[in-house]
Every structure is written in C-alpha cells, then in structure tokens.
Subunit: 217 residues, 2 copies
C-alpha cells in the first residue's frame, strides 16, 4: 500500500498499454475475493487495474499469509521474469481489469525501447515499495506499522485525512505482518492518544501531525 501511484494514468485510454496503441487489452471484471491468478500458475497474462482494487500475496503451507501489495486503478501487475506466477492475485471488491498477452508485451518490449523502459520503471517502483516495506516488516513496531499504513492509505486516497479503509482487518494484518487483534488494539490505542477518530464503519479521520510524529523517519 505504500507504493506511490505510477505515472501511468488510467486516462491513457481504455485499450492502451502504457501509451502504446498497438497493445489492446481485453476488459474483464472480477467479483469480491475472486482469484485472478494463483501462485504456480503459468504467467501468460499481464493486468492493468481500471477500477476497484487487487491484492497480491504469498502463503506458507500452514496458512500464514503475507500480502505484498495492493494495486489500485492505473497499476500494472502480473509480470514475472520466469514462466510461473510467484503470487496469488485476488480482487478486493468488484474490479475491472484490462488483460494483455504477456508474449505480446514482451515482443513489443524487444522492438520498442520505450515500452521496455516503462516495464523497467514499473518494476523499479515496485522494488522501491518492496524495500520500504522490508524496513517496516523487519524493524518497526506495531504502532509504527499501523500509523505508517494509515498515512499511506490516506495519501493514496486523496490526502484529505478522512477516508474509508478499503480492506478488512485481516488484509491489513497480513500486509503489516501482524494479527487482526493487534491491528484492532493498535487503532484503539491511536484513537486513545488522539491521533485518529473512528467515524463509523471503516471510516477514519487522521490527525496527521500526531500520526507523523509516531512514524518519524
């Protein structure tokens, strides 16, 4: 969730891949919790979010799950250097995607350097997000994790300070490497310290100054 939105806006046009008119995507819709692709499946398609949201995750055999990222409109996902997907991807809610043939994109990338550069940029931005998240998972407390997460969601949803969390406590917990109980308790604690207000349902209103002080560098 920390990843900044890539500069590829959905307004590039309904059928375009990263501004390349030769690549036309096939529209598709997915329902809440529906799987888009599974870990281990052949990676023959590439996806672009048009509406809704997608999460990608990895699981261990005993069910422990780590969400590696949330994908919002404009984001591309599903690229793999190898032949198979290393993640499972699922729609968070009703979601519209554009599907591209991976071979077609790769062939285009070998011909048009700007497409290949865009792919590189996308991968590098994802990498930066992943590295920031490693620091969070390896070295931050539960309070810092939740505060950083809430600030990030706020920013991605417009930065007004008041918003509805688009995911469940389970998703948040599996993204932050915590349990749902710890997430819940931490939000309660943040409310007790006056760093946020719960204004009904999943809506929260942040005191961004106080929140930032909890995260610091």
């Amino acid at each position: 969730m920390v990843r900044p939105r890539p500069p590829v806006a959905p307004s590039d046009g309904p059928g375009l891949f990263a501004g390349c008119p030769e690549l036309i995507g096939t529209p598709a819709t997915y329902g809440r919790e529906e799987e888009i692709f599974g870990e281990g499946e052949e990676a023959e398609r590439v996806y672009r979010v048009m509406q809704g949201a997608v999460r990608t995750h990895k699981v261990l055999s005993d069910g422990r799950r780590q969400i590696t990222g949330f994908h919002l409109p404009g984001d591309l996902f599903g690229f793999e250097p190898g032949e198979t997907h290393r993640h499972t991807a699922e729609a968070l809610s009703g979601t519209r995607l554009l599907i591209f043939k991976r071979r077609q994109v790769e062939r285009m990338a070998t011909r048009r350097a700007e497409v290949a550069c865009q792919l590189w940029g996308l991968a590098t931005r994802s990498l930066r997000h992943a590295q920031d998240h490693m620091l969070l998972l390896g070295r931050r407390s539960a309070l810092e994790r939740v505060a950083a997460f809430l600030l990030d969601v706020d920013q991605r949803l417009g930065g007004t300070g008041t918003f509805d969390l688009p995911m469940t406590r389970r998703d948040i917990a599996d993204y932050l490497g915590l349990t749902i109980e710890t997430v819940s308790r931490t939000i309660t604690q943040l409310e007790g310290e006056g760093a946020l207000l719960r204004t009904g349902g999943r809506q929260v209103s942040l005191r961004r100054g106080r929140m930032h002080r909890l995260v610091e560098v």
Copy 2:
C-alpha cells in the same frame, strides 16, 4: 541474500555492461565497510560487482537498520527510478566494482531494447527476492529465518553444504529482522538439533535435509 544469481556472468568481459560493448565501466576498489553511496545522494552511477560483496540497507533515525540485499559478483545495483538513492551501499570486504554512468545506461536503454529488457529483468528478479523476503520478515519465526538464510548462502556459495559465512552476526540480524543474540542462539539451537555443525570460525556445515524440513514451503 536470497536472490538467485542473475544470468549476467562476470565472464561477460571486464568492461561490458550486460553484454553491451558500447558501455564500458570504470573499475574501482572499495575496502571493508567502505561506503559506495549513501541514502539521499544523487543516483548518477550504476555498479556491477566483479569481486567481493556489497550490502545495501536502509536506516531509521534511531539507528534501526534493515539490510535489503547482499550483492555478489555479477550482480548489478544502484539503479533508481528517481534522482536519489533510496539506500546506502557498503562493501562487505575488499571489493572490486565496475562503475557506469547512469545517464549513459539510460540513453542506451532507450535506443537498444535488449538493454532495456535486461534492466527490466534485473529489476524484476530483485523484486522477486524482495517479495520472498517480505514473507520471511512478516510471517516466519526466528528458526525458519536463520535456516532459510543458511540454506540460501550455501546455495549461492556453491551448494556443498560447508562454507564460511561472509558476513557478521550483525549483518545477518539486520537482514533477517532479528537481534544478534537471537541469531546466535538460533544457530546454537540448530546445532543442538543436529541440523548443522560449527566447524571453526564462521564456517558451518549444514545437514541440508534437516534444514529443509525446518523451512518447508
């Protein structure tokens, strides 16, 4: 450390960038613990390890550190999508590098799609490593982390099962999101369970069957 070696072998030639003869790197050597670049500095160079090893890390203001990766001969590092480095890079020991001008590489990438594709492949492989590491940091126990780490180092150093750890306990701890004491205790525990032998200094000899059983999926 988990990242598999990229297919770009150092034997590509002393001055070549990813098989591209137009790009000639400048050789440089760095001593133990010497900084190669710092977080926040302008990212105008790109590096390739020829000999030795490099670690990249991020730090919080209070000193908490997360090592995001170790780079061995053949690996490229230092790429950034933005203008500044998001990491600090330091040599683990006496290390020989090849330095490339970032602008030059990018210009070459816009002209030659195969260079851009190589950059994409490098970033994507790093991303895969980062995502595997997120699962480790977010959801694995200390025992699993250390066992996975040792198996990975063994594999990267030839897979014989017996090797010298090329980094200190502090580096291991900061890579695995643990403390040096926990790393030390966990290695002792692994020895007690007959999953490895300490054969003097930093050398260890793994019982890979037992180690693998501890890591599973």
